[in-house]
Assembly symmetry: C2
Homo-oligomer: 239 residues x 2
């Protein structure tokens, strides 16, 4: 196990930044890393530009244990992730024969566009895709997933066995219908007594009622439970 | 007008990275920047850690025309954005008297937690909040918004008049029920004839049918329309 394992998510795609598309992968990836005991340290959303992608991949792969990218591995002209990652690693692009074989099983014409989906940076290994045919790939500590959420999930499941995390990061939460300004001091006092867990307060407004979700996260089940018990006793004694 | 205006969005909050909460601000901000003719170049999601927030704010404000942050300006111990931005700018935190006056109008006790919401980096100006009382603030080219989506939207509306963008970035799209691998070459040929617009293809699966959204974006209405007309004629002649 690797208790200090960290990760970054890199979401590649103009459609997310233009507001055309709502990202639907980060939440799933965040939950998955927590389950695996890997701290997701940051996420970035960048445009489909090879120089930018390559520079950011190099920055992130040097800084974190794992980097997961989503998007940009399809057959169209705006799918630039594979060539950008080859550039980042300073390797050439090659056709992976196993990927070509899988894509060919569709029976559809293996034209230049489809062959592009079998083209990966030299040295990459494939990440299986149980939903459609074209695989993702891994090179070094960089895992390259599709952007379509169902396929990104299938690829993450296929890659998961290659990750070495620590103890799962547990999370407990309770919703209270009180104002943060009224309980902030009491919550801070509890947070100071439990420095080994993260305590967060996330305000909401539901059907006109103000409240907050109080979240305790940590790897020690006993400390997470104890902190939550104190929060409950202090802020939601009737709950 | 500033046709070269760029922006970055900085989403501050452990709850987004842990998968606890789905971000609901980036899509809105992306749409807003497009309308204002400002290129949203990147977005980042980072943890509630002052050193990290300060370093990233300094990196982004040097690189882009505008930086918009969301999250971390409430009254609880995990709301660290104001102090982090003061650190980034090398200024002290001060109580803003107008912000204090607004927060006091609630009639609720103006305790230390609520006073924290009136505390901003020295030199900041307030961003009005028409939903609740506590304002956001602007310092230099950094605009600091709340994380709650309804409040983030209200603050953006209040700050919008201070932004100098260019011609609106227009977007047209059409959904086709064809496979990307079959139309990629034709689409690329069109994209090459319209270098001044961005043409993107975003695959989807709906009720078992594969297809793609084809999106044309650009500032010249005639060129956007012409590119879309070619796409339509080539890929969706019956549409």
């Amino acid at each position: 196990v690797n208790p200090a394992a960290t990760a970054a998510v890199l979401i590649i795609g103009n459609e997310i930044l233009s507001g055309k598309t709502q990202d639907a992968n980060l939440k799933f990836l965040g939950e998955s890393f927590a389950r695996l005991g890997i701290v997701l340290a940051e996420a970035r959303v960048i445009r489909d530009e090879p120089e930018v992608i390559a520079a950011v991949v190099n920055e992130l792969r040097a800084r974190y244990t794992y980097v997961f990218t989503t998007g940009g591995i399809g057959p169209t002209h705006d799918d630039l992730t594979a060539e950008s990652i080859a550039r980042a690693f300073g390797v050439e692009l090659v056709v992976d024969e196993e990927a070509r074989r899988r894509i060919a099983t569709s029976g559809r014409e293996l034209n230049a566009a489809r062959l592009k989906m079998a083209t990966v940076p030299k040295g990459a290994t494939l990440i299986d895709n149980s939903v459609s045919l074209a695989p993702g790939f891994r090179i070094g500590n960089v895992f390259v997933l599709a952007g379509i959420p169902s396929i990104a999930r299938a690829m993450f499941a296929a890659a998961e066995a290659e990750l070495e995390g620590g103890r799962p990061i547990l999370s407990e939460s309770i919703d209270v219908y009180q104002r943060e300004g009224d309980f902030a001091a009491a919550l801070e006092a509890i947070a100071k007594r439990y420095p080994e867990v993260d305590i967060g307060s996330y305000p909401f407004s539901r059907e006109g009622r103000l409240g907050a979700s109080l979240v305790v996260r940590g790897t020690d089940p006993a400390r997470v439970a104890a902190a939550m018990a104190e929060i409950r006793a202090t802020l939601a004694p009737t709950g």
